[in-house]
Symmetry: C2
Subunit: 309 residues, 2 copies
């Protein structure tokens, strides 16, 4: 039996059918950021109808990856951190059941990426695993003793981007409204601000861009650019220390690093591994640090795993 | 059946008998810091012999709380972070079995304090709990789904004092040999350095002390001292943010704050709760923040819990 999977990302919605860890009928819709969920309800309805027809009724259910906090007991969205802001008020689970006639499960996108990598990808079914996802923000998740860590209020594991790593900073507000978080020091949305405030900016190729993000500083055109290099090293250094904190918290067998920027893994992975090796305090052993096997589809694949558990 | 319990602390060794969460025959030995474990082997032998005699053979076993990393599968000490430095080379478990003729279990002291508070104290048997212990350093531990979190290499939960919270600091070395850790910003061993380097030092009562520690800045004599007040607020602020990071990592129902300094809980707890409330990003709920029920004996009590599991 197949699962229909939808990943509601910050800039893209991915849909597909997952069976035995393989994604079929993958369709990616580029979207404008910060639009409400209601904008995309017709698209979801139309896409699911198409997939139901293609699958001819052989469907176990529909899973949705959401970029925010999800109450997995009530199958409801708790908090959105600025994306699809109407989602907590829109009863998505009931809508799916009534309008699409499918069993439904909703879960945080980083948790689903973690499940996907764990069962079918770089996590290699390790009993203890951490996922570190570089997207618009920084998404994290953890498997402890072969089980997804959720915590008392569904917040455990997914707040790795909001560990405080600059304790005396009370100026630079993070996406969560707080200060000093990892994500507020080195994420795609922070990089634009850092670049434009830097003294090397006027001499940099980055001036040609309207909006600077992680992809821009890692692009081939910016390989020899002094500011881009500085920002790359700043981000990789901070990500490495962020991973050290997750290692100190969960002591996993393996850390899987994912997200679109991992297309530059040949630059990123040696840098991260070097810093982690030097800065993690792990006298009895370090985890393996590996690249995501499915940087673009791990969350979709994870939806199938969610339905199995 | 009773358990003989020994807590090998940084400045004190506590011994006693534990039965149903009650400590009897408590004996506390003040010790010089940084001595090897072998120094105290005769004391342990003599004390256990006395307790065995008192108990007249009704003993389930001997448990040892150790201030470092412990391999609980092999019952061996992995790392000491400067205390009882010969411990990894001394086969304590075999020595206990052969010389004292008792079943033995060794575990990290913060984990045992966590178990003690969880079953008999402020943790109130919550399925998800975090322990935050203010001692010579900062000890932490976590219960997840009614189980002590240990991780792949026995490091999970206990490294909360070594979360990096000052990412750009590569000058001030922590007790672990790394930089920017919580413990290197606000712990009893750091306070002495911070005080002596401060511009208010020459006008402070703290000049009267040879060694300044957390207890000195919280003492009644220093209540109106400007530098002591500054250091108190610095420490409490950083501890609060350290607890925020643990909340973000584990999302517990309850955080238990312990350690000798909690005799000043009337000053510390309102301060911590206020900062945590403002700085934790927990849209779906905050844990309770409570004071340890057994600031001095939680680890001894936890040894009984360890033998039950």
């Amino acid at each position: 039996m197949a699962i229909i999977a939808i990943d509601l990302g910050g800039t893209r919605i991915k849909t597909g059918v997952v069976k035995n860890g393989e994604v079929e009928h993958l369709f990616i819709k580029e979207i404008a950021p910060n639009k409400p969920l209601s904008t995309y309800i017709p698209f979801i309805k139309e896409r699911v109808a198409y997939l139901k027809k293609e699958l001819n009724g052989e469907i176990k259910g529909l899973g949705i990856a959401f970029p925010g906090l999800v109450d997995t007991d009530k199958n409801s969205i708790i908090d959105t951190s600025g994306k699809y802001e109407d989602a907590p008020e829109f009863d998505l689970a009931t809508w799916v059941k009534q309008e699409l006639g499918l069993a439904v499960k909703i879960e945080n996108d980083a948790r689903l990426a973690c499940l996907g990598e764990w069962q079918y990808g770089a996590g290699n079914k390790s009993p203890d695993m951490v996922m570190f996802m570089l997207g618009t923000g920084i998404g994290t998740s953890a498997i402890i003793d072969n089980k997804l860590l959720r915590g008392k209020h569904y917040q455990a594991g997914v707040l790795g981007g909001h560990f405080i790593m600059d304790y005396h900073n009370t100026k630079d507000v993070c996406s969560c409204g707080k200060y000093g978080c990892l994500e507020s020091i080195a994420s795609t949305w922070r990089v634009d601000q850092l670049a434009k405030a830097h003294h090397l900016y006027s001499k940099s190729n980055l001036t040609k861009l309207n909006k600077i993000n992680i992809a821009s500083i890692f692009s081939i055109e910016n390989e020899t650019d002094e500011l881009a290099k500085h920002l790359r090293e700043h981000c990789m250094y901070v990500w490495a220390l962020g991973i050290v904190n997750l290692i100190h918290a969960y002591d996993p067998s393996v850390v899987v690093v994912g997200g679109g920027v991992m297309h530059s893994e040949s630059v990123i992975m040696p840098f991260l591994k070097d810093i982690i090796k030097n800065r993690a305090w792990c006298p009895s052993g370090l985890p393996e640090i590996v690249t995501s096997a499915y940087p673009d589809t791990a969350a979709l694949i994870g939806i199938e795993v969610l339905f199995k558990n």
